[in-house]
């Protein structure tokens, strides 16, 4: 008969948190920002098929960083929860806050009860009628929910990126300005991110029922380019960062 070793709960939680943070830090980061006509979500992502940013419902989008299969499962659960709720009650009753709480429940539950916590950080955003009504919920691997104001950064270097974004962002930016501020915050001072390395989507404030739209191709090049000095090099920015993942792709 083997005796179970005693490990202090503090130690268990700390180990799990370290594990999750390391996993998340190996992937690439993501930023979102409110602008005059909506919310833009910008992810560093070279894949055009494995998405980090997606539509959840009419005015709600989802973004995740960390382990792809894990946040994708959460994304699908969110779509299902939203569609079921809209079907059972009304489309107007579906909101980001409820979804964020549900995500927090799931992440918190897995963090405390499972061997392995999810190595993800997610963002649930809802665009409002006015910029002041925009909602950005940032949810961590352990179920911590944060309500961000105006902009948010996710990923291993979220703090530094958030700091850079805070310097470049202010209320009332246009889409191009907000997009460039987010891309610059993700890139940092020693590199630039071109259209090929960015996945960009918006929630448009006044664009019919389904506010979610991807910005790709020529439109993205133009918005990134738009006459600023940082945009001029955007086209040929150096592709960075080989994947050093240990099985399971992180994007």
């Amino acid at each position: 008969m083997t005796m179970p070793f005693y490990v202090a709960p503090e130690q268990v939680m700390k180990d799990r948190a370290d594990f999750a943070r390391k996993g998340i830090a190996r992937g690439r980061a993501l930023a979102a920002a409110s602008y005059d006509e909506g919310i833009v979500i910008v992810a560093e992502n070279t894949s055009s098929t494995l998405r980090k940013v997606s539509e959840i419902y009419d005015r709600i989008a989802f973004a995740g960083v960390g382990r792809y299969n894990e946040f994708d499962q959460l994304r699908v659960a969110g779509v299902r929860a939203a569609d079921l709720k809209g079907y059972a009650y009304s489309r107007d009753d579906v909101d980001a806050r409820t979804l964020a709480n549900q995500y927090a429940q799931i992440l918190g539950q897995i963090f405390t009860h499972e061997m392995k916590p999810l190595e993800v950080e997610i963002l649930v955003v809802e665009v409002g009628g006015e910029p002041a009504d925009d909602q950005l919920f940032h949810i961590l691997y352990d179920g911590t929910v944060g309500d961000e104001d105006g902009f948010a950064a996710l990923g291993g270097e979220a703090e530094i990126i958030g700091q850079r974004l805070a310097d470049g962002w202010h209320p009332g930016l246009t889409l191009a300005q907000a997009l460039r501020a987010a891309a610059a915050a993700l890139a940092g001072s020693d590199r630039t991110l071109g259209p090929g390395e960015l996945e960009v989507a918006i929630l448009a404030r006044h664009d019919g029922r389904r506010a979610f739209r991807r910005i790709e191709g020529a439109e993205l090049v133009e918005l990134l380019g738009g006459g600023s000095e940082q945009g001029d090099e955007a086209g040929e920015a150096a592709g960075q960062g080989g994947d050093e993942g240990d099985g399971g792709n992180r994007d």
Binding site: R51, S54, E55, I56, Q73, V76, A77, G78, V79, R80, A81, D83, L84, K85, G86, Y87, A88, L99, Q102, Y103, Q105, I106
Partner: protein, 270 residues
């Protein structure tokens, strides 16, 4: 309502109906036993015509309950998604529910899978819904839709009709459904030719609905007094678009103008 998370082996996939059933929200619940007939509101004549650049779909606005008109402003032509539309005839309650579920299913698939269903796939989804409604149909709650859309892979408009068992039949040129469909179908048949323009296809639908309303009491004609006109929509490469009410009114006015004095009176003094 908890967030639905499933074990990978147990996942309902992109089907919204399957998901709803799993969560106890069956969109097609079994009916109560019994043979008592309920007074049912029925929706009526719908047509679709393929033309050079897409599809025109049209439906009258009348719903009847026995010999009474229960609604004058029913909508029977709906966008299913950006590039397809659905028109319905039959019992109004289940028909509207089916449209809602169909729209939801296409959107749900698109979001879960991250890409659009093919037009053929959409047509098959609707066939499954009609089939699921068969028990209700046997009790008199029949729903017969028309599905039309722009096939982005083949770059052409396509139309499908259904039967009550969920049989799905693609029509090359035009189709009609509902109590006035016999008349509407014949009118379309006489007017149809290859390479109709948008305006000609709209005029063909307008004429078909006008004649169906003339012969079938359950099909509503244009109502200039209240300003109620049949709903017409085009589906092309650029998507589903409702024909403006003013344009529809003008088409009907022009038709009446053309018919004035030439319409057979059946021996009655005009």
């Amino acid at each position: 309502m908890p967030m639905p998370l499933f074990h990978p082996a147990d996942d309902p996939g992109p089907s919204f109906a399957a998901l709803a059933r799993r969560q106890g929200l069956d969109p097609f619940p079994p009916l109560a036993a019994g043979t008592g007939q309920l007074p049912i509101t029925h929706g009526t004549t719908c047509v679709a015509v393929r033309y050079a650049h897409g599809v025109v779909m049209a439906g009258d606005r009348r719903a009847t309950s026995g010999n009474l008109i229960s609604h004058r402003t029913m909508e029977k032509v709906f966008p299913a998604d950006r590039h397809s539309g659905v028109a319905i005839a039959g019992a109004a309650g289940p028909a509207l529910e089916m449209v809602k579920l169909f729209q939801l299913q296409l959107e749900h698939y698109e979001k879960v899978e991250g890409q659009l269903l093919s037009l053929e796939g959409k047509a098959n989804q609707l066939a499954q819904m009609v089939r699921s409604n068969l028990p209700a149909a046997l009790q008199g709650l029949v729903v017969i839709p028309i599905f039309g859309g722009w096939d982005q892979r083949r770059q052409t408009g396509r139309i499908f009709q259904y039967d009550v068992t969920g049989g799905r039949y693609e029509d090359r040129d035009f189709t009609a459904t509902g109590s006035g469909s016999l008349h509407a179908g014949t009118v379309l048949k006489l007017q149809y030719r290859e390479d109709l323009s948008r305006e000609e296809a709209i005029d063909a639908c307008v004429r078909a609905l006008f004649e169906a309303a003339d012969e079938d009491s359950a099909t509503g004609g244009p109502d200039p007094v209240r300003g109620i006109y049949p709903i017409l929509a085009t589906i092309t490469d650029t998507g589903f678009e409702r024909v403006d009410d003013d344009e529809t009114a003008e088409r009907f006015r022009a038709l009446v103008e053309r018919l004035r004095g030439t319409e057979p009176t059946g021996g009655i003094e005009p």
